[in-house]
């Protein structure tokens, strides 16, 4: 497999504050690589470095075969970037917006002409080319923005929080587009804090305070976070149950609340029975503790907590 992005000890410091702390990772061509992390974890800074917008304090990365330190201009030509606050020109048509970005990426008029239908096809904008971008609903705007970012046929697309504020149905459609994009050989590098969305990524890096604390496919991450499966209990009074179980942390393991559900990270196989017993004793109505597959949210919370616990 061909390597698309290769970061080596990439670091960015602003004065005393280290935003990105020597991170290294590799992304393969055609992969959807996700960056998961809380706001301020260093996701955007990393992306901005990889795009050639910020110069790293130390370390380097090879993006599409070029060093971001030595040849940022070459890098820029080969990637598309859709920033968090991507904004279209509302009084230009869809087509005009895409042509504009294609044009400033250096495409010739003929290339733009050829590319336009391809791009519109790829993001599902056919038939809307002549409409004003400003008249489009939010979900479509997102797709137009993506179309602008891939207008010049980049090898890599960086998407910074691409689906913020888009409704779930359109989000799903958006991820289908991303999928097909990756299938056609484009590397997609995406940051998000929507846990459910991460499942669309082939590989994920979890960032916390500037560092990658874990990296891998979803099963790999789950393995790294939990030895055993999780126990799930549904109850009428989750708060009381949570307080009760938290007190017994040392014997049964850690508990967290998810709506009416409680998740317990079991210490040993006997934990399920112990939880059942404790809740019954306190007179709290509950379902039988069942083994469940941990969600990405569980994984994330667990990994971050473990990381903080270490410090």
């Amino acid at each position: 497999m061909e390597t698309s992005v290769k970061a080596e000890k990439l670091q960015k410091r602003f004065d005393k504050f280290t935003a990105v702390d020597s991170i290294s990772f590799e992304v393969e061509k055609g992969e959807i690589y996700g960056f998961l992390g809380a706001n301020g974890a260093g996701k955007t800074t990393t992306i901005r470095m990889l795009c050639g917008l910020l110069e790293p304090t130390s370390g380097d990365a090879i993006v599409a075969g070029y060093s971001i330190k030595k040849q940022p201009e070459e890098v820029k030509k080969r990637l598309g970037y859709m920033s968090q606050k991507f904004s279209l020109y509302p009084i230009l048509t869809v087509e005009e917006n895409i042509s504009f970005y294609g044009g400033i990426y250096g495409l010739t008029d003929e290339e733009i002409k050829k590319r336009l239908p391809e791009v519109c096809e790829a993001v599902g904008l056919n038939g809307l080319e002549k409409r004003l971008a400003g008249d489009m609903p939010g979900g479509l705007k997102q797709r137009i923005a993506l179309a602008c970012a891939i207008a010049h046929g980049p090898e890599i697309v960086f998407l910074d929080e691409p689906t913020a504020g888009v409704d779930p149905l359109l989000r799903r459609r958006f991820w289908e587009i991303i999928d097909s994009l990756a299938f056609s050989g484009v590397t997609v590098f995406v940051t998000t804090h929507y846990m459910d969305e991460v499942e669309n990524c082939h590989r994920i890096a979890i960032m916390h305070s500037g560092r990658i604390i874990s990296e891998g496919t979803i099963p790999e991450l789950k393995k790294a976070a939990f030895v055993n499966h999780l126990l799930e209990v549904e109850t009428d009074s989750p708060v009381r149950a949570f307080e009760l179980l938290s007190e017994a942390k040392d014997s049964i393991g850690e508990t967290s609340v998810h709506g009416a559900m409680l998740h317990v990270v079991p210490k040993d196989p006997a934990t399920a029975a112990a939880v059942d017993r404790m809740l019954s004793a306190a007179g709290i109505a509950h379902t039988r503790p069942e083994q469940v597959e941990p969600t990405m949210e569980d994984v994330f919370v667990r990994l971050v907590k473990r990381e903080e616990g270490k410090i």
């Binding site: 917008l53 820029k76 990637l79 904004s87 009084i91 230009l92 044009g103 990426y105 250096g106 602008c148």
Partner: protein, 381 residues
């Protein structure tokens, strides 16, 4: 050659986008129509010659001579006699309520004094509220009185001519060059072009960049291989073209309406205007880099525009300002442009004669533009 094409290909797309936006927002028409209106209004309004001043005459003498003097004020462009009275009590009322701006008061013994060959004082009472008009109006009244005095004097002399014989006299023959009828419009119209250029190329342009900053489009552009120089080139070229179109349009319209003469070379005017446009654009870009919102940009631009209007010699002669202010005018780019544009319009000056001003604008433009691009590069990265 290929390099040049590589440079201009993205620039072209920025330009297309810019022009499409202008067209859709109907700004383009505005940027052409508004200047014409502006030039016409200025041509009519910015008249430095005071006319039709509401005038009252308080003739307490009511003799043949006092009536002869009163008559002098009728049928003159400068005065519009609103009241002739014999009652001095009304003066205060009329001036106080703004019904008259100036009053000629002829005292009761006026005719008597003249007949006796004495000094005959008359009072010229002016409303000083509008100090500038008052200065001009009052000196104009004094000129009329002096002329009348001369007439009386001559009459008396003529009566004595038999006694004294031929007398010498020195008269003055006036000749006004370049603008023989001393029409204010001929001076204002070229000046207005300077103002229009400043509005179109500095104010509107700075807003246009800040808008992209506010919306986040600039950031999106920076990740592309397009360089700051290319972005700027693409944004300013449409404004340069509009600026030049404005000049043509104003010259033609005002030529028709005001018969403004145009003595010099039109090509030279356009060429030298380019320097001024470049200075304005540089300032505009600079303002846009230091402004976060359009409101800030607009305020900063207007704040810069005001001294440009006041201290450029556009309306008020630089020569009459206090010395410190006169020194200050040297850093006002429009000062140089006013000399250039009026010189080309009215005197037909050539490039060599305008070299000092052109050079000043060139230096100014180079410095401002370098600063602006540097600041722009910094804000985008």
């Amino acid at each position: 050659m290929g390099n040049l094409r590589d440079f201009f290909s993205p620039v072209k797309h920025v330009m297309i986008k810019e022009v499409t936006e202008m067209k859709r927002m109907k700004i383009a028409a505005f940027l052409i129509v508004a200047p014409i209106l502006q030039a016409i209004v200025f041509g009519f309004v910015a008249v430095t010659d005071i006319k039709n001043v509401p005038t009252m005459i308080c003739d307490e003498d009511n003799s043949a001579l006092s009536r002869a003097l009163t008559d002098k004020f009728f049928n003159m462009d400068h005065f519009r006699v609103v009241l002739v009275t014999h009652d001095p009590q009304t003066i205060e009322k009329q001036l106080g309520s703004n019904r008259a701006r100036v009053c000629l008061r002829i005292p009761p013994d006026f005719g008597e004094n003249i007949r006796k060959g004495k000094r005959a004082p008359v009072q010229v009472i002016g409303d000083g509220t509008d100090s500038n008009s008052a200065v001009q109006t009052m000196s104009r009244v004094q000129l009329v009185v002096a002329a009348f005095s001369g007439e009386v004097f001559e009459k008396k002399l003529a009566a004595m001519k038999s006694v004294v014989g031929q007398l010498p006299s020195i008269t003055m023959q006036e000749r006004v060059w370049y603008n023989p009828e001393l029409k204010s419009a001929n001076v204002m119209v070229p000046g207005v072009i300077g103002l229009i250029l400043a509005i179109v190329t500095m104010v509107i342009m700075s807003l246009s960049i800040v808008r992209e900053k506010e919306s986040g489009n600039i950031e999106q552009m920076v990740v592309t291989p397009i360089t700051p120089a290319q972005i700027i080139a693409g944004k300013i070229i449409p404004y340069i073209v509009i600026g030049l179109i404005d000049i043509c349009v104003v010259v033609v319209t005002c030529g028709i309406i005001f018969k403004t003469p145009f003595e010099g070379s039109f090509l030279l005017l356009l060429t030298l205007s380019l320097f001024m446009i470049l200075v304005n654009l540089g300032i505009g870009i600079y303002i846009s880099t230091i402004s976060a919102t359009q409101q800030q940009a607009m305020f900063s631009a207007i704040f810069f525009l005001m001294p440009n209007i006041l201290l450029s010699g556009f309306l008020f002669p630089i020569k009459n300002m206090p010395e410190i202010l006169q020194w200050l005018t040297y850093i006002i780019p429009m000062r140089y442009y006013m000399v250039i544009i009026r010189g080309i319009f009215l005197k037909g000056l050539g490039f060599m004669e305008l070299l000092p001003q052109t050079f000043a604008l060139f230096v100014y433009g180079a410095v401002v533009f370098a600063m602006a691009i540097k600041a722009f590069r910094k804000t985008v990265s």
